[in-house]
Symmetry: D2
Subunit: 478 residues, 4 copies
């Protein structure tokens, strides 16, 4: 039922989405979208199948998605983690922006909304609280649009001579603000209910017109989304592309053309400091980061499982260097679990009693994980090697060559078809555009790793490091 | 004219090729094959356009492809290198098995054919010489089928209980031998004239029935090729996939079912030692390796050029770490040139006066190059990052969104469309299945890098290393 | 007082220790040993200064070193960790084998001593318990001798034709067993009270005579230790070698010549299975591993602190690539903390209620940590670069060149002498034999990283990995 | 005789050299210097033993060191290379600054001296020519002093408020110029005849007073050198430190206090542009770079030889991963040879017919070589592992433990003493300060690798890269 509501919502709001240069009229029927829509449906289904895991009940008796819950203890954080994990397993960790991602942010932004303040025209703080309640009640899927198109990375957006360098206030009216411009990589935006539009920290003086944050329905007038080329292979079967034909996360290029955002949907307005504080000082990133590293673990697990199966079935698992590579994977999994645990254990409690996972632990993992993931992907490439590029098509098993192929590709440990599917899975994860987008996602979805590291050093408590060093130096001075 | 002859040959021989489970009836019309066929045509065209570079003339006045020339001096090796380089540029180094690859082997095998010997049934040595003359005269495109399917990597092929673990002699007749079995990754086999079937070194006692080498026409009775799934995007434009829609090298899975090979086409017959000597002791690999590293240079150059263009046009080329990455690429190019030069300069001359490039120099580069190439690909991924995943479809520039996109994606240094093509090229080379197959190719086409290194150590002259070490140790003993 | 007792014990037992080919007569006076002895003294002093942190009280009211405490809760594990951490800071993590290391093993071996069983001649199980009580009561420093000399790594010790390939039972008497042979890298053995002699797992059938474990006093008749060359610079000042002149951990080559071990000191006797179980099945390695990773954290902290001070004072900390390197260090510290935490949080409780830290978490860190540490050391090398090799000697500041050097080497952020000490510290940690031995220690003290990884894969629970993989494959089969 | 002249020169000029805070009175007797002095003596001896290799004859019949020869053909470059190689083998490539290093620069600077021009006070161009002739005639050993102390890397030397930030003109007189200041890492300066003082490119406007180049005798009034702490172990034997006790290259910190340099010794005077051109536009670095990479090859060879001997004698050379590591070393050697060859083959000829090796080839190798060398050193560490830290002292073989140790450390493939020396050599090359200084040297002696790469990209001909890229993009634009 929840899933039907969702399907009905996204198919009836006249949203404007372009795919391959054509407007998509029937969202639910578009083969490219079907896989992802099914995953979102299964996300809603989980809430009905396992309400004890995936929902919470508020003081008014309202049952709502647990991702929106404000954790009041470490146990609450663990509960959220368990839900994140099960949700991520629906897509093998390959959908980065399931509804729980931004929901976790919406909750904490509301909780810390006093930061947002008020103006003559709008009470931004109250708007955040109201939007939170709205999301709880409606159980909607909010995507986010935060990344400004990279026209010239050596300039701030206000300096770039291009009105699509971000989303910009054109003018204000009594009803609200009129915005125009663009955002890129709006993941799953084409099939979400709403968009949360904001900027990542980094705006500078002079960027005021771009310094906004607000929410709006995907179907609002003036909202247009242009999909990048699809990475799933809708024309091919699961046999041929076990995961890459199943779904694609669909990133869109978002265009806003004179879109009116009512005052009660505005969260930040022409305020560079507030725009920079929005995702950071509200602790939003602590909670999305928590979801993110839990999801990342699932992705690492399926890749590890695939490597193990390859090693076993291709006769490789007796070689010490192969075993080392598998151990490099399992040790990485364990260190991920350590970091997930630590970010909960050292969560910060605010004065409202809300727990936010330790962001510096999350960032520590985010710096190392992409490198581990890349090593994992390379391990799969080295195990499957040329064999990945010697797999017949599904239909070759349905014509008169079938019996010959069944015999020819049969191994002592795995039969011909399973061998083909396994090698195709290896290809999807390591060689196909699907798998490489997944790798790129891990490297860049949370920002440039070089900057993640630099910021980690800047913010990390290195008191003990300095103390030990100064002690030696002091003892050694003459 | 040469290209027409080629097209006419491959379209009229009733070859049996399966693609996506369906037999391809009109080879020339198949969209998946068209790109590669065009590249082979342009290879033949080069011989007519620049005969002084791409052909040689023999003592009988016959003009023939220079790849078949037996080099009698370092200058001859340089001439062949210049031709290899121009041929590789036709496909930006992305077609690994253009006709010049195996042709270079056919020549040297003929020259050293005394190794192959004779038997009662056949004069293998003379067969090799005749085949060489045949290739010169006919100017045909020979592909090779050398890799046995990896059913169980812990066993020798004779031990595997699967009659498709290689190509096997079933019986012999007065006319020739009857063979059955399979080979994998027969690159471009679907559009070649002939196949040279042999084994890479590594067969063991007990593998006698598989220990054969021979040539045969692709259209011979009983020959069947099953293509892997295509990696080019025939449904998409060059705009959307600048290189990945242009062509695919098409690897096939080759099945031989009771194929008769006449005695005069047999080169090795049930002889494990000879099978292992075929590619190695004839110096075949010295010449194919020479072509291979020259082609690899072109591939590295296009990838470097793409990285440079990205850095310049995305506003990245002021950052020292970006400059270092570009320098890592150009220094690698230079070291490649050093190795190419050295393998020619230290070429071995045999008693017939034929020069074979130094195989140990080639292998040295083959061990390092895949790692460099991977770094290059990762550099492209890091420069293009998320922007690669935010490119509209070609058709988005042909509908009413066009003018808006032209404005929105316009940069100070590059206009919207060129920017899109550049990012799409970056994706093709680094993220798309096309690009990853190219990376896998570099890692594995010449064998497992771990074994390449181990063999290099085994064969390398380390006398000076040992002398210096022994000298210190001797001076230090008490 | 505790420290005096220790000093008195090790200086009065007629131990036989050779250094630079000469027998050391006055252990306490030997300059090479002084630094390490002082560190062990400070270890004992800590117990008196902070008894609440470094000691526990047993049911009989006996106050004893907390490292010998059997943890009955996660809180107990945390208490032990806090003590380990403070102990490690005494030596900046550079003494790997402080007394708490093997003490943690002695406790758990006693607790799990039923594994050791009994024989006609001895009750091994009771011996372990008695030895534990003895250690508690005497507060002694036990070193261990476990590594067999690597004469030929391709053979088991029983196969090697050399009676010093391990420690071997020569014969037995009514009083005990007579052993001869050798062990290598007996760290701090020269200044310990006792030695725990055993084998790491890995003995094979045929190695029975070597399959022993026992304890004995360092001064026992027939025990001889030969030190490797010292790595501290006793002739130089702290100024010149801030840490490398302070102490050396002193590894010895241990020779036993017809040493009699009384039956009540024998723990394993000619039993390959039991010898292999001794360190593993008793959970000894879980507890020494816990101490080890906590100590490793301290080492990483001093190295990080040194890198930070270099970056700040050499004017480097504005460069993004320098900041990334510092962040690579702080993120590694945080992941270490995550692993330390997780190994406690997922500690296994046995049926006696004793908690043993999760060994697989410890091993996960042990596989990754050496690589991180090496990167840290390389970072210091890259920051200090040539400047490390341009530091005058301490005495240059005490002659007529002093004022000139004080001016010449003065920087805007750090004065000449502190700059010199800092660069000398950088050298000690990254360039000097002292620092490289520390790096080697991290790589090899817990076994070959390749084997650590392979064993981790073998023992790790990969159920969820396999489940996710099988699910995709199952969904994709036709 | 040549060697005696050298010894006599350096011992009779009243040079001022401090070691460990004390002035060295008898240069020839100082144990720290003896090893290096002997190597320089053997350099001179080579000229007498093999004049056909190590000397050339000029038009006036003067026989002079071949490093000073101006190569007029590729053959001449090869001759110089052969001499460089033999010279480098004297020290196993571990002395980076043997006389041939800067001599090769002195020759080409003279040849291109028109760049230096003239002023009212001095004819810089003629000075360079005269100095070249002087060096030829006197066969002296010139060291160089080029690196300014790194007080604050974020500033240019003129901005730093410290008069020792470089060597500075204090005033001029009729006789010459008066300079004061400092240079660091003047390698072998303590035992050279003369110093060539200059700046590496990189000075900026405002640095005029530091923009000088000149030569002067080491014994000139006001010249003072302060040695860094010695890295050779003069108190230990070759047995204990097979190479690290043999010699140390002795870097000094050079102080000039009001030193007068006669006008005929001045090469650059208060001219930032000329100072930056001095090492670069004269092609000096092409020739010193040529010597440097040839010497680097020798160093890589001794390290490879040591790794091979370890692998063989420790029973490791059957493991595939060990063989790969050895192959990684031999393939690197071969690529080095390729680069050496290419830089000669593509040498640039100037209008005087002088050949200068291709600097971009040299820099390409310089970027990759330090990484290879580091890998080689790590390979030795992994092969020797703990065993390096379990070697008795030489004197242990001279006391009553000798026979026992001879038996205990005897292996099936290598006897006890040779095993000890081999492991000690492994330690010297990979763990000792000696070996790590060698590694640092490779990383930094030619400048920061990050900058080497960036400059390589800036200067490299990437025309073909751009052409190929533009061709694809052009073909793909709509």
């Amino acid at each position: 039922m929840l899933e039907d509501n969702y399907a009905s919502r996204i198919s009836s709001d006249n949203r404007i989405v372009y795919l391959n240069g054509k407007k998509v009229d029937l969202i639910l029927e578009e083969p490219v979208f079907k896989g992802a829509i099914n995953k979102i449906k299964s996300y809603y289904r989980l809430q009905e199948e396992k309400p004890e895991v995936h929902t919470a009940i508020d003081n008014n008796g309202l049952r709502y998605a647990i991702s929106l819950m404000l954790p009041k203890s470490q146990e609450d954080l663990q509960k959220k983690r368990i839900s994140y994990k099960e949700v991520s397993e629906l897509s093998y960790g390959m959908l980065g922006r399931t509804p729980d991602f931004i929901s976790s942010a919406i909750a904490i932004i509301a909780s810390n909304s006093e930061i947002l303040g008020t103006s003559e025209k709008a009470n931004f703080s109250q708007n955040a609280i109201n939007y939170y309640e709205f999301c709880k009640r409606k159980n909607i899927f909010v995507a986010h649009a935060a990344i400004n198109p990279q026209i010239d990375r050596s300039k701030s957006i206000g300096e770039i001579d291009n009105k699509y360098s971000g989303v910009k206030v054109v003018r204000e009216t009594d009803n609200g603000i009129i915005v125009s411009g663009a955002k890129m990589i709006v993941t799953l935006g084409a099939i979400a209910d709403e968009l949360l539009v904001f900027n990542m920290p980094g705006l500078r003086t002079g960027d005021e017109d771009f310094a906004v944050a607000f929410s709006l329905p995907v179907g609002a007038v003036g909202v247009k989304q242009i999909c990048r080329k699809a990475l799933n292979h809708t024309e091919l079967s699961r046999f041929d592309h076990p995961i890459a034909s199943a779904f694609d996360e669909i990133d869109t290029y978002l265009i806003l053309e004179e879109v009116e955002v009512p005052w009660d949907r505005v969260l930040v307005y022409k305020d560079v400091g507030m725009s920079n504080a929005f995702y950071d000082k509200t602790n939003a990133r602590n909670h999305t980061g928590h979801q993110g590293i839990v999801r990342g673990l699932t992705k690492a697990e399926i890749v590890t499982g695939t490597a193990i199966k390859l090693a076993k079935n291709m006769g490789l698992d007796k070689f010490p260097n192969v075993l080392e590579k598998l151990g490099a994977m399992t040790t990485s999994l364990e260190l991920m679990k350590g970091a997930i645990h630590l970010c909960e254990y050292t969560a910060k409690v605010d004065d409202k009693g809300v727990y936010s996972p330790n962001f510096l632990t999350i960032q520590a993992l985010r710096y190392h994980f992409p490198q581990w993931y890349q090593t994992m992907v390379q391990t799969i490439q080295s195990f499957a090697a040329g064999s990945m590029l010697a797999v017949p098509h599904k239909e070759d098993f349905n014509n008169h060559n079938a019996s010959m192929l069944l015999e020819a590709l049969n191994g002592p440990l795995i039969d011909a078809k399973e061998r083909c599917v396994l090698l195709n899975l290896a290809w999807d994860l390591s060689g196909d555009g699907f798998g490489q987008r997944q790798q790129s996602y891990e490297f860049y979805h949370a920002g440039d790793p070089m900057r993640i590291a630099g910021m980690h050093y800047r913010d990390y408590n290195v008191e003990i490091c300095n103390k030990l060093t100064d002690e030696i130096i002091c003892d050694s001075l003459i």
